[in-house]
Each structure stands twice: as C-alpha cells, then as structure tokens.
Symmetry: C2
Subunit: 384 residues, 2 copies
Amino acid sequence: MAAPHKLCMIPGPVEFHEDVLAAMASPALSHIAPSFIDCFGRVLENLRHVLLTKSAQPFVVAGSGTLGWDLAVANLIEKGDKALVHNTGVFGDRMGDCLATYGAEVSHVRAPPGHRPSLQEIEQALTADGPFRMITITHVDTSTGVLTDIQAVAEVVRRVSPDTLILVDGVCSVAAEPIRMDDWGIDVVTSAGQKALGTPPGLAVVLASERAMRVFNSRKTPVAAYFASWNRWLPIMQSYEKRTPSYFGTPPVQLIMAMDASLKLILSHGMEKIFAEHAAASDHVKQVLEGWGLKLVPQSREAAAHAMTAVYYPEGVAASALLSSAAAHNVVLAGGLHPTIAAKYFRIGHMGITVYEPQRKYIETTLDALKKALVESGYQLPSQ
Amino acid sequence: MAAPHKLCMIPGPVEFHEDVLAAMASPALSHIAPSFIDCFGRVLENLRHVLLTKSAQPFVVAGSGTLGWDLAVANLIEKGDKALVHNTGVFGDRMGDCLATYGAEVSHVRAPPGHRPSLQEIEQALTADGPFRMITITHVDTSTGVLTDIQAVAEVVRRVSPDTLILVDGVCSVAAEPIRMDDWGIDVVTSAGQKALGTPPGLAVVLASERAMRVFNSRKTPVAAYFASWNRWLPIMQSYEKRTPSYFGTPPVQLIMAMDASLKLILSHGMEKIFAEHAAASDHVKQVLEGWGLKLVPQSREAAAHAMTAVYYPEGVAASALLSSAAAHNVVLAGGLHPTIAAKYFRIGHMGITVYEPQRKYIETTLDALKKALVESGYQLPSQ
C-alpha cells in the first residue's frame, strides 16, 4: 500500500492542482500537433499577463530555474561588461558565478543573512563603480526568505544609471509578488515553473523587455553558450506564438500543458487578487509563528517574502527533530540553505493553490502540524 | 468530449507506458525526499545498464536532448581544439555549430542525405587534418533515419587517433540500437528521454567515460557555460547515486520518476532482447513498405535506423494529403526534416513500448492507417 501523501510545504516544488497533474499525464503528443502549438502559444501570451507586460518577449525552455539565468545572462553579457549583484543570499552569490562565467566583471552589494542592501548602498555602487551593463536582483532569495523592493531599486537604477539593464531573478516571486515589468522598467525576469507558477519542476521561464532585446541585437560578440542562445529560441517562441510549427529542441510537451493549466487557474483569479491573497496568507503565517515566539530570518516584515517564510528554530529545539516530527504529521518543511546559518532555521512555502484555494486548508494543516511538532520537540508555546 | 487519442508514431516523442504517465502525475514531492533520492540514484545506475558500461558517469538534467550536447561539448572542448563531425544530416550540422560555439575548429566529413561517410573517408580526415580532441557521431540522424556503425568508426578512431574522444549523439538510438560503451571505447553518449527511453520530453541524458572525465579534469581553461558545467552537476549526480541529498538546480522530479518507471520496464526485458526486438520490428516495417513499392531514404538496409523509418513519398502522392489522411485514421506520422529533401519523404517512429510490447499492435495499426492513407492519396499498391 502506498504511503499517504505528505503535503509538500517547502519553497518549491509546491502542491499542484489536479488539472495540472492531469495535464502531466497526457499521452504522447507531437510537439508540432496543432493542439500543442496552440497550448504553447497561449502559455507565452499568458506569461505576459502574469508579469504585467505588453511587450516583453517570453522564453519557455526545458530546464531548471538556473538555466533561466543562462538564458538571460549569456545573451546580454559580453566579456568585460560590468555587472552588479544586489545580493541577499545564496542565489546572489550564484548569480555572480553565472555572470563571471560569461565574462562579466562582477561587483556585489551584500547584506548579512536576513538583511538587504539599502538604496543608498545601491546608488553608491552604481555611481562609484559603474557604468554597469546589468544589475541583477534576487526578488526573493529562497535561501533567506528576504524580499527586495524591486520597484524602489529599479527607480534608483533608472535615475542614476539609466542604461543599466535590470534583471530580476523571480524564481520564488513570479505569480506571488507583484512584478510590473512595464511600469517599473524591469528588463528581464527569470523564473521556473515549480514555485508560484504551480507546475512540476523542469521549465525555465524568461521574459525580456524590448530594451533587452535591442541590447541583445546590438551585441558585438557571439553568444558564448549554444543551448541558451536566444538565436536558437527566439524564432521558436515567435513561431509558437504565431501558431506555426517550428523546431530547435523538442519542447517538454507535458510540462508545458501543465503550465498552461496552471496559468489558466491563476489568471482566472486575476493577478491583483493573486498578489493580495499571497500577502494575506503570508501575514497570517508570520503572525501565528511570531505569536508562538518564533523569530523570522528576514530583518523585518517589510523585507520578508510572501510566498515563503524563513524562521529560526526556537532555542533548544533540534532541527532534525522538528522537521521529522512535522513530516510524521504529514507535512514536509524545508531546512535552512544559507551556509552561515543553515542549521539555525527552517522554511515553509505558501504559494499557488495553497493560497488561492484556501478551501484546501493547506496552511491550517501546516500550522497544526508545526505546532504539534514544536510541542513534541520540547518547545513550550507561550500561553495566549 | 475529448477527441480520441491519435497514436504518436513519430521519431519522438513516442507513445508512453501507463506506468510512466502515472509517474508523471505524481503529486508534489521534495527533490530531497528520501524516496526521490532513491529513485534518482536508481535512474543513474540503470542508465549504465542501458549503455552497457560499468564505469561511465551519468548526468540527468532538465533540458531537451540538445542541452545534452552542451553538457558534453562545453566540458570537453577548449578554445582552439580541433573537432571532427561525422555528418549524416541536420544534427551533424547542428553539432558543428555547438562545437564552434565552445571554440572548436570544426571539420565535417559529410555524406549526401541518406548516405554515410565511408570508413576510409573518416580515416583520411583523422590522419590528414588532426590531431582531433573529439570526433562526434550522430548514431541515428533523426532527419534522415541513417544509422552509423559506431563500433566500426570507433575502431578506426582508436587505431589511427587513439587520443581523440568519441562522442556519440544517441538521442534516437539509446535503448534501441546496441551501444556497448565500455567494449567499443565510446567516451560520451548524449541522449534524451522522449525516444526509446520512453519518457515524456524534458530530460537531457549524458554518460561520460572515465577517460572523458580525466580530460575534463585536466582542462586548462574554465568551462565556458554556467548551467551546463560538470563542475555544478558532478557532485549532485554523485550525491544522488550515494543516496544523499544535494542541490544545485531543482531536478524535474516527476520526469525523473517517469524515467525510472520506463527504465525498469526496459531492463525487465534485458537489453539484448530490446535490441533484437527493435531490429525485428524495423525489418518488418521496412519490408512491408518496400513491398508496397516505397523507397527508403537511407542508402541501404544496413545504413537504416531500427527505431524509425524514413521513406520517400511515392510519385504523385502529396505530402500533406498522406499525413492528413493517416492522422484521420488516428495515426500521427512526421514529415521530412532534412532541408534538401524535406518535402519528399516522411518518417515513422517505432521504438519503446511500440516494439517491446507488441500486444499493443501499434505497428500493425500504423501500417494499416498508412496503407489506407496511401490508397486515399491515389497511390496504387502493387498487387501481391
């Protein structure tokens, strides 16, 4: 007999809707079947609605979210370009490695775990060390749960260094936190399917502004990667959106059908409602945890992501005991990821259907399991 | 009401087993859940059994088969290395582009569509233009259905240029044609899930010999791609195989579970039986088509793939009419792909469960539909 399903309440992969899983099990279909061409074209169009952009060029390619970085950086960076990393954790460090691989001279503006650089620090770095071809911002660093105010950072960049491309790593924010690509002047958003986009892992997602495409088109040197080159994928994406067959690599048919199902659900709620519901669910989770005397990893509520919560273990509670106990109550949580504090905190994902279909009661189930696990781990909850 | 499923008899994606589709619909599971770690480890081990190697290092990464090329070439080629492409079609041309992207000086030994270079031509190129860091061989060029005798080519390479790495693009051959990596001295095999490996598209597969890993470890320059670098993935693959958690990019959990299901089915038959059954099914298809007066694209039966058949339309039969008519009989076939003859031929895929579960009668159903489509397209079958 199969073991009962444990709720997967980590910051991705997340619980998937039944329509999404049904699409995953679709029988074989040619990647140039008219029904699939239409599906892929719709996914590309719908991603523009999710990112609140009329003109950005979407790319959806088989790969993990990290491939999305290559799909942006390899196309926009040329050897010797300066790049600035707005660094709030592990994924900022890694983005620096990615930029350096493609020849960038990389500077970081770092903050300690849980914190984020100030706007003054960003402005100073942009003016003192520039001009930069690109600034990268991890919208939500999944390692620390820190949320960056990308609108405010983008305003600074546009004011003091107007030609610098703004790349947002939205792996843990797209379809949960507002990203108004056109209004805020964001040039590139990279993401992946398995977080708030509600699709099993295996899809890299990139949207590139018209300005980013112009920078790409005026490159002086060839793109240094083969698979990640927009020269291969741009004609393919344009063809699918025009509903005509085209081929470079075989697209992951079932995953794209699954993303189509998920995007339809998300857009049926409307993006403003989706954002508001993620904020409300996050506030609820954080309020309950703080009520239990737990301390968030992010420096403040304002700096905390809405699709996940990173929270310190209480004094005296062993990491492994707490997570095992929660799993025994059929809820899977994630340990820490930031190397300097990894053993001291854990992470809860709350995004997608968990949030916009509250009738599932995944958040209540999770908080109940966590409460039992805390008690079983010897923690005394404050009396209320 | 949903339209009835049309058999997907193209050279990938292919029809999938029910166990594989059930795995695709698995609910959310953490990429570091013990059950998934065990599954991923088993997939890596089982790929060695499929490729008949004891010591090669497997890599399984979210991506299309083309990413598999980057996962090999970016790691083994350094700027200025010479590379030789054994070119039997579209995928040889593309491999040349991939090699050049990573700095190789590329030579091709080409043959016209349907043909393959002779061993003498290969030997001459190796001795006249070398030494080559790498030779690449498309085992089956999906564009033409031409099969290369990789054992014979490998013997030539080992004899006249023993230090040249041998890379086999096995996208359309792995788990259908024999590839005896260890016995034949093949250094790298690249593949993808959606052909004879029987998994929906979205997985790039690479196996690298110990010699290839030594060449990688003695690189003088950094790997020029970020996502495709073995520096990122080698520790991850080693961890999963040791059944310990590890993270670089989120693996495509459901696709890997699907590949696990498919590999179990394949290995339950045994590789020698799998190879023999693909050969027998292919012989049957080709004999029937030739009996109907159709002409194969490959120059001879010996040079024809066993997982697919590329065959010219008979005189006077319009491409679109024939494929539409077959689809009306619920069988999807593929058009031509090689640009110089694309409108003149079509392709049938026959691999995986179509072959090793003959009780499904997919081949009979396909031949029946094709026969009806030929007649409906105005072709007069020879009386028999």
